[in-house]
Amino acid sequence: MGNTSVAIKNNTIYSNQAGLAETENIVLSIFSENKYLIQGWYQNNISAAIPIKSSVIGIGANYDGMHTYSNKSLAVSYSGKVSNEIAFGMLLKRATNFIQDYGSIHYYNFEFGILAELAPEFNLGIHLFNPFGSISISDNIYQQKSIFRLGLAYQVDKILLLAADIDKQIQNQPNIKLGLEYHPANPIYIRIGINTYPFNFYSGLGLQWKSFQWDVAMSFHPVLGYSPSASLSYSFGKDE
């Protein structure tokens, strides 16, 4: 859906963590993406969301890169509900940036998100990536720029979901993301999306069968080309 995930409840800790707050069962997810069809360049992650009493704890591991340059991280998240309508989530990540022949830098990052149900069919999401700056562990100081994300999701009816996000990172133009999910019949979901900066076009297909959710997607960058991805998640516990 073009990564328009800020106002949507996803099963993974790698989007707006506030979306996990309503998870009732233990959910395990894996994700893999091959960037621009370049051999060796992948983003893979695995995460689990575990409901404990009225909150949800998440854990995950992520790898992004190739053998010459990579970013690896371990993360833990906490999500809960402040009221019936408002959920929040936060994530603490310990990451390592590795550049061949240069070495590694280790740092901690923090993320925070809120998901608000404005009306039964209308959700508002806010997510802050690195709002307070990274904390470096090694001698070299590593700073990632903060990103502020704001999004709305509108469930038009049982079949159609529309979402729009705006992301702003300092010194980059704002990235406007639009996405659409079409659910013509069980178990099929069809998704398309667009990002403006950098420009990317996304399309995807999802299948939901019993406790499994399986998604494949393809994103297209006008210069760099196609990036296929796939994800699978399994929800332990009773069927919904």
């Binding site: 402040v82 009221s83 408002i86 809120i114 404005l118 802050l128 709002p131 903060s146 300092i170 704002p174």
Partner: protein, 660 residues
């Protein structure tokens, strides 16, 4: 009572503890953006709070008093007073349902502020306010000791209010100012104010403020012009009020009263005050100030130069206002004479050619306001002693129950002079401007509201950084959508095209047209009295003949009320990025009660604000506020004495309020 604030406060749903109204903030932001000055707005929030503890007696209040309270529109006021005159006193507020112009929302909203029969509210109120704040980082002015005092801001205020008497004092010291001898603060103000003693409606001893007509002669304190409440362009004069603000240069000090005879109210006043001014000529023998070149508005007395300017000019002001009020007609005549103890001689620059110079200045004005069914007409005409005039006239009309429009025409002569005027204008003074403003407000149903205005204006003479007569146009549109009882959002778009000096050196064309555009989207989600979310995105664009600059602002506010309502947490995180000072973003920030924060941000970085309000016992409230800006584009913040090294600027503030 400012009609804007109370009316808007009431118009939108507001839970008691989370009642900082969004439109109110927008108005204030708009003023600050337009005029680049921070007005001291304490007085208005105080008045609203006051009204809650001293509600209006619907059976006794007069037409003009009810109108100036701001609780009802002029149509509702007119309908109510006419009804009361015809049918006698009310026995229950619910009788208001009979009137067509009153709906259930309005009646619910005004209930806390009015009563019928006997009021059960507190008659006496005694409040002490203490506040201190400090910028954590050391400014250049303290390192090189240009600032003679310490970096603390200190503020104390005491007020006693009852039905008959108001007594109070205010003490304030700004950062960098010295405490005077005996540890007395730099600014002090006191007042004794009587209400309704026989035929005297009010008597003021000490510091007081005056507001008459449409502000062409005397209007102390907050003034407003163009705002998102587009059709509210009429000023309702509040007459004589005690002065309780801490803005150091806009009040009267002396003695005044309002006396009532039948339909007339007479307010003679006398004031002997001093204001800060730049001394240009001094008598070397006795050090007496002979001439000043300009008046200082900042109120700061931190450096030796600023201290020298302090209270340099004495002003004796006296005059009177006579107003007449009968049914829906109000009219007034105002006269003021100001005598200075030195000459005001502005430094001669071409754009100041028509500025005031001399040692005395007087004004006389006539104002009127008449409401008839769905139309209200208003205006004022004023003359200064050099024979030049300022005029404002307008109409506000309900074209239907869903559509309200207003038109305002102003013509302020380039040489019109006044000391205390504050009226509808694009510029910051009541002079050198003619303009036509028209607006429309449409409420197609309960969910949508569209507000729009367009203003054409012209400056017949030069202005600062504008070396020829100039003109401008401003368009504004705001669409409000009430998604449901808990969520409102709006989209706002404003464009201003105006003329200023050309950016190209030695250009044959003296002036260029500059365009400023802003677009804002905001969502407020208030699902319960426990939590409130406010998200906002802004985009600014500034283009002149050479370049274009953009600016962005993203912010998220959270207000959370802990169980038992003892603690209220307010937080904000924001990200801003502006390419140039011209695209700086102004924003209203969460701040402690009665203190205002409307900082502007240019450059790029993050802003964090955290605030806690704690009420340990019923009559005590404590606030703690911490605000920090972290710039990502610089290693020094500010210039001159205000400069801080590093890229972080933070402030700590503490406030206590005690009801004694």
């Amino acid at each position: 009572m400012n009609k804007f604030f109370v009316f808007l406060l009431i118009l939108f749903l507001s839970k008691d503890l989370l009642s900082q109204d969004i439109n109110q903030q927008a108005i204030i932001e708009n003023i600050v953006e337009q005029q680049d000055e921070i007005f001291n707005l304490n007085t208005f929030l105080e008045q609203i709070d006051y009204l809650k503890d001293h509600p209006i007696d619907l059976n006794k209040i007069t037409y003009s008093e009810l109108l100036s309270s701001g609780l009802l529109t002029s149509k509702q006021t007119y309908d109510f007073i006419t009804h009361r005159q015809q049918y006698g006193r009310l026995y229950s507020i619910n009788e208001l349902f009979i009137l067509e112009s009153f709906d259930s929302i309005t009646i619910e909203k005004i209930k806390p502020y009015v009563f019928v029969g006997h009021s059960t509210k507190n008659k006496k109120l005694s409040t002490l306010f203490l506040r201190t704040s400090e910028i954590t980082q050391k400014k250049q002015g303290y390192t090189d000791t240009s600032y003679l005092g310490n970096p603390l801001n200190i503020y104390a205020r005491y007020r006693f209010q009852s039905n008959k008497i108001n007594v109070g004092f205010t003490l304030e010291k700004d950062a960098g100012e010295l405490l005077l001898k005996n540890n007395f603060p730099d600014f002090y103000s006191a007042h004794i104010f009587f209400n309704n003693i026989g035929k005297f409606k009010s008597i003021a001893i000490g510091d007081y403020s005056l507001n008459f007509g449409q502000g062409l002669t005397i209007w102390n304190g907050f003034g407003f012009g163009k705002s998102p409440d587009v059709t509210n362009v009429i000023k309702y004069s509040k007459g004589l009020k005690p002065y309780t603000s801490s803005a150091e240069n806009t009040f009267f000090r002396g003695f005044a009263f309002t006396y009532q005879i039948k339909n007339f109210e007479i307010t003679p006043f006398f004031s002997k005050n001093t204001i800060d001014a730049n001394i240009s000529e001094k008598d070397s023998l006795n050090n007496k100030v002979l001439a000043v070149s300009s008046i200082q508005q900042s109120g700061y007395h931190r450096t030796e130069n600023e201290i020298e300017d302090k209270n340099a000019l004495g002003i004796n002001s006296y005059g009177t206002n006579i107003s007449f009020s009968k049914n829906a007609l109000q009219a007034g005549l105002t006269f003021i004479q100001n005598d200075f103890n030195a000459n005001i001689n502005p430094i001669m620059q071409t754009y100041k050619r028509y500025n005031f110079s001399g040692d005395h200045l007087s004004n006389i004005a006539f104002d009127y306001n008449y409401a008839w069914q769905d139309i209200e007409i208003f205006g004022e005409i004023a003359v200064s002693d050099n024979g030049k005039t300022a005029v404002v006239n307008g109409i506000v009309a309900y074209l239907s129950s869903k559509v309200k429009t207003s038109i305002l025409y102003r013509n302020y002569n380039k040489a019109y002079h006044s000391m205390f005027a504050n009226a509808f204008a694009d510029g910051s003074s009541v002079a050198n401007e003619t303009g036509l403003y028209s607006s429309i407000s449409i409420n197609p149903n309960n969910k949508w509201r569209i507000n729009s205005y367009i203003d054409f204006y012209m400056h017949p003479w030069l202005k600062f950084q504008t070396d020829a007569p100039s003109k401008g146009i401003e368009y504004f549109t705001q669409i409000d959508y009430l998604l449901n009882k808990t969520t409102t959002m709006f989209l706002r778009y404003k464009t201003k095209n105006y003329e200023t000096n050309s950016s190209i050196e030695n250009n044959v064309e003296l002036l260029q047209t500059v365009s400023k555009k802003n677009c804002r989207y905001q969502i407020i989600f208030n699902p319960s009295s426990v939590i409130k979310l406010n998200s906002r995105v802004d985009y600014n664009l500034y283009s002149d003949e050479i370049k274009s600059y953009s600016g962005y602002w993203f912010s998220q506010d959270v207000v959370y009320v802990f169980p038992k309502k003892r603690i209220v947490f307010t937080g904000r995180i924001a990200l801003f990025e502006t390419e140039d000072y011209h695209t700086r973003i102004y924003t209203y920030e969460p701040d402690v009660l009665y203190d205002f924060s409307i900082p502007s941000f240019d450059g790029s970085g993050m802003r964090y604000v955290v605030m806690l309000k704690y009420s340990p016992v019923k009559k005590v409230d404590l606030w703690f506020r911490y605000a920090l800006t972290s710039y990502s584009d610089r290693s020094m913040i500010g210039t001159g004495n205000e400069m801080i090294s590093g890229n972080i600027k933070s402030e700590i503030k503490l406030q206590a309020r005690m009801q004694l």
